[in-house]
């Protein structure tokens, strides 16, 4: 009888593969470094013991749906953000929902290694999780953190940690309850003056080395040819000058309007620790205010930029005659 979270995931994956419900199970396994987990693709029932899930799984697994064949029957181990990302991808016809089996796991949050490094300069050797506590083995000795101290910011601001529309949910308690979005950090950004906001944005964007790791980590960035890769005409300068850096961050975020599921995979992938979820969160907040839309929650609701409702009143323009410009 499976008892732990990992065993329950493994048991479900084993059943799916043995009964031939799916061809592949996408989940996490131990990585090459002791405190890094890596995505894995399990195709045989005997390999399911590799599957694990803990707070160090920093990728968003929905990204692999874009790389796998469309008709492949796939099971994915999903947390809250991943399930919403899958939902959005299904809505955008990236994958058929009937070929997917979502193994939902109530989220325990993702740990931010940078936050540990802020507290301790020593190299991290290993990380052990135990309920709400996280034991970190440093070169100079062991240290224990509360989980909430070193959670990633995207997880601290997370609104829907429970998987949405999953086929089954692993019966384990997650770390969070459903809660209302903590908007305070966005409001404090909005309350800055025009100049301060520009400085804040520039301070982050100017560190960009244009590696596009954020794009590769993002499940919503699946264009065959990205706008930054066009060479004729070259829309965006591809070197690390301010014009190119700013354009990349502005347009990348804008393409996510009403689509970003705020998983924070882009920030975790960034080698320069550039903050960027605030951009997409601001846009999503606007979408919520104006169209009452949150990405990935309703399987039938199209994102606002795809569904063109009649919003003449909102813009002060009527179909005939009167208009306010």
């Amino acid at each position: 009888m499976p008892t732990t979270r990992d065993q329950k995931i493994q048991a479900e994956a084993k059943r799916l593969l043995q009964e031939g419900v799916v061809d592949v199970v996408i989940g996490f396994t131990k990585g090459t470094l002791p405190y890094k987990m890596q995505p894995c693709f399990i195709q045989h029932a005997e390999d399911v013991e590799q599957l694990e899930l803990n707070g160090l799984c920093s990728n968003n697994l929905a990204v692999y749906l874009n790389h796998r064949p469309k008709d492949e029957r796939t099971a994915i181990v999903v947390r809250g953000c991943e399930s919403r990302a899958v939902q959005t991808l299904v809505l955008e016809n990236r994958h058929a929902r009937e070929n997917l089996y979502l193994i939902g796991v109530p989220c325990i949050g993702i740990l931010d290694l940078q936050k540990i490094q802020q507290h301790e300069q020593d190299p991290v050797l290993a990380i052990q999780e135990e309920g709400d506590q996280v034991h970190v083995t440093l070169k100079s000795g062991e240290k224990t953190f509360q989980r909430s101290e070193i959670l990633h910011n995207a997880c601290l601001h997370c609104n829907h940690p429970l998987p949405v529309n999953a086929d089954m949910i692993i019966d384990e308690a997650g770390l969070f309850e459903e809660r209302t979005f903590d908007k305070s950090y966005l409001e404090s950004f909005r309350s800055l003056s025009l100049k301060e906001r520009y400085q804040e944005f520039t301070k982050e964007a100017e560190r960009c080395i244009r590696c596009y790791a954020c794009r590769e980590a993002c499940p919503m960035c699946y264009c065959e040819e990205c706008f930054v890769n066009h060479s004729r005409p070259q829309w965006v300068d591809s070197t690390i000058d301010p014009a190119g850096q700013q354009a990349w961050h502005i347009i990348r975020a804008f393409h996510q309007t009403g689509r970003c599921v705020s998983c924070g995979a882009c920030e975790r992938a960034c080698p320069m620790n550039i903050k960027m979820t605030y951009l997409t969160d601001l846009l999503n907040q606007d979408m919520f205010k104006e169209y009452d839309f949150e990405p990935g929650l309703d399987p039938a609701l199209m994102p606002p930029f795809l569904a063109l409702g009649e919003d003449n009143e909102k813009f002060g323009v009527g179909p005939e005659g009167s208009h306010a410009g």
């Binding site: 520009y198 000058d241 014009a243 813009f315 208009h323 410009g325």
Partner: protein, 144 residues
């Protein structure tokens, strides 16, 4: 000291100016500080075009399209209205004031409105002064 007039970029849908006199004026007699980008539909205006104009030094952006339900391509202008107004809000958050944007959805019986709109917009931009933020582009599109 010679005061430079604010640089305005006018994005215009090719169907929105029903009056051929106005269209002729826009195409041939625009003042030097206004650059015309004529597009097939306002829905064709990618936010990237606007950002390129902003980064290239535009002090103001004007977008002209057809009225709702009057779009030649049925709903191009509805798309433009949603995305571009949000893009305008977004740039406002990043340092390019939303006062520097003007959206105008043209009615079919409007005559001589575009001239007065441009004059008024220019006056407003002169009040706002030079635009210091996001003006970062150094390479020229024409050379590429």
């Amino acid at each position: 000291m010679i005061r430079k007039k604010p640089a305005i970029v006018l994005f215009q849908c090719q169907y929105c100016l029903a009056s051929s006199m106005d269209q002729y004026w826009v195409e041939t007699e625009l003042p030097e500080n206004v650059k015309l980008i004529k597009v097939s539909c306002s829905g064709r205006i990618d936010p990237l075009y606007i950002l390129n104009a902003v980064q290239g030094g535009a002090d103001g952006i004007m977008v002209c399209g057809c009225m709702p339900e009057k779009c030649h391509y049925k709903e191009g202008n509805l798309h433009a209205r949603r995305t571009l107004s949000e893009f305008c809000n977004f740039l406002n958050l990043l340092g390019y004031s939303q006062d520097r944007f003007v959206f105008h959805w043209m009615n079919i019986d409007e005559r001589g409105v575009i001239q007065s709109l441009l004059t008024e917009f220019e006056k407003n931009l002169e009040k706002l002064g030079a635009q210091p933020h996001l003006k970062t582009r150094t390479f020229s599109q024409e050379k590429a």
